[in-house]
Symmetry: C2
Subunit: 347 residues, 2 copies
């Protein structure tokens, strides 16, 4: 039998942040695709769209009028998944267990310009977005245990409006995936007397093969256990536990790394690369949490081209996540992309 | 403050099979939809398609010719995610943990007729499918610990060929989601001295509100903790742990319940209702497994119509599954559908 090679032989990798395995079938990427392709929108969006609920000065569905904002703009989601009123109740039956929740959901417009995406923002406009993430986290973190900052980008990710925007959902419980991560980070800290993500980023910087971009403060990499084809993690190289602890300098270098990553994403298939992204940091419970390190996950669905995505279906929903190209191959492809956005490349 | 009502107030429900919570926002179903819609294929497929890799007598991509089969037909997947050769290796580093896998993946054509779906099979043809699930499970269960029988139906679920077919992936390890379920079923059995799914089906039969269809042997219901809008569980009313234990009678009643469920699915939005479905039963490890009960999960993505689906994105990928309509509302809508398929309703 031949030597084991991660590029040729099916194997599983373990995700220490979730405790779940991922099945890798690198030999499978040759299969033909006859299934659904994503509709490619090649029209250029206008900078202002009078029909858009998020453009400055326009009316939203509930009748409220947006201000004529010129940087970022935050409002309570008109169809919020959470609200802070309502009776409290819970049921602890082993089979029918429930509890009421309290929280809020907000929408954050990244820019007044309808036609842009995070990847195309100027450095100053990017700073405004990070500052908004930070001030929202500070404000909502005073009231709630968990503040989930995230963005769904692109129709393929269920985003119902192309205007550049993200969301912030905050509530008084740790959501399922975060509760698991909290436990795993704490276990590692206890066992190894060190921080999992701090150890991990050092190891990756030495191995190099999964790094996409880095600067003095931040690293964007395809994690060893990535689920999505071009999934990435944005990790700090310094001790920071929550978004609220960013300084002027680490905000600036963070803007750079997000730019470096999202521009490469767009360049890979020459499209506005769809993804869901979001931030995880220590809960706002007043504790120290030395086991935590602030980080962002990017989960992009595209697999082979701007129109062919990976489907997390049958086997994935019933058994285990499966992927075809290896994280090392994905990182290499992203790394080799130009750091200049393809839409600006004629300059 | 008003009385808590599951139809009006946001709450979380606990899934005892996964240990995960689901966030319910019933008041949110009123939000408008401006996002991506699924392409609706209203053309009627022909009974035979000369370009289809799965039709009887046709050649597949690797050059092999399908037999002129007239019921079901099973073959090794030409682009298998698993294979049984290859070197063995593993690495147990806390941050870079991997192991090689061995297994096979097969494709099961449900019918020679290219135009049909499970929902439209005659009772006899349905029996042939169940018999194939059973004989495949028996054969592969002799060689492997886990046999995953599943179907991806519809372009929205990444299915690359409309010819009615499912898949069977078998391997020598418990996949992530099954390992969790194994643990939870065993824990419940130890704590309560009874079987979780046996207890659950009895409780649901009494409560009635989440039942979609039932007969003497089987129940199809929307679980209390459903993630997908119209997710269902197919549960037996008798002690059966693996697919291999089905008898002529319980195969027949199972065919009935699958028909009753999938016809209602198609009738709900008058379309070939997309879903991923699959079976879970006790592992093939030679043990008794009194904590197990054979069951099927159906995970359909549609939310509001044949073209608007639920996206499991941002908040769902980073925090917790969120749903809008309640499981009780979903069950009521499915229950009220006609048991006659809309395509046959002129008879
Ligand atoms: O095997 P298929 O039908 O080509 O592929 C489909 O099902 C597989 C198993 O659920 C998934 O891994 C793929 O993402 C999906 O496109
Ligand atoms: O809030 P939106 O953008 O209307 O909705 C989108 O993001 C939500 C949060 O990730 C998801 O629950 C929805 O399924 C998705 O369509």
């Amino acid at each position: 039998k031949s030597q084991f090679s991660t590029d040729d032989h099916p194997h599983r990798r373990f995700n220490p942040l979730t405790g779940e395995w991922v099945l890798l079938s690198p030999h499978r990427s040759k299969r033909p695709w006859q299934g659904q392709t994503e509709a490619l929108d090649l029209t250029t969006a206008p900078s202002y769209d009078s029909e858009c609920f998020l453009c400055p000065g326009n009316r939203r569905i509930n009748g409220e009028q947006n201000p004529k904002y010129d940087t970022t703009f935050v409002f309570q989601n008109d169809f919020a998944a959470l609200n802070s009123e309502g009776p409290k109740a819970q049921g602890s039956d082993a089979l029918f267990r429930f509890e009421t929740v309290e929280g809020e959901s907000r929408v954050l417009c990244f820019s007044p310009d309808h036609s842009l995406t995070l990847a195309q923002l100027s450095p100053e406009a990017m700073q405004a977005v990070i500052a908004a993430w930070q001030s929202q986290s500070r404000e909502l973190g005073q009231k709630y245990l968990w503040v989930q900052v995230f963005e769904n980008k692109g129709a393929a990710m269920g985003c119902s409006n192309p205007h550049p925007h993200g969301q912030i959902w905050a509530h008084n419980h740790l959501p399922t995936l975060v509760a698991t991560k909290q436990q795993r980070l704490a276990d590692y800290y206890q066992q190894h007397h060190s921080n999992l993500l701090a150890d991990y980023v050092e190891r990756e910087l030495k191995e190099e093969v999964r790094i996409v971009a880095s600067n003095d403060d931040w690293v964007a990499l395809v994690p060893y256990w990535a689920s999505w084809p071009f999934e990435t993690l944005v990790l700090p190289r310094f001790d920071i536990r929550r978004m609220t602890e960013l300084t002027a300098k680490t905000r600036e270098t963070l803007g750079e790394i997000i730019g470096a990553l999202t521009v490469r994403y767009d360049n890979l298939f020459r499209c506005a690369f769809p993804y869901s992204m979001g931030w995880h940091g220590a809960p706002f419970d007043g504790q120290e949490h030395p086991e935590w390190r602030l980080h962002a996950h990017f989960y992009p669905p595209l697999l082979r081209s701007a129109s062919v995505k990976k489907f997390m279906v049958g086997y994935e929903l019933l058994a285990e996540i499966q992927r075809d190209i290896t994280p090392e191959q994905a990182a290499a492809r992203l790394r080799e992309q130009s750091p200049i956005h393809y839409k600006n490349s004629h300059y």
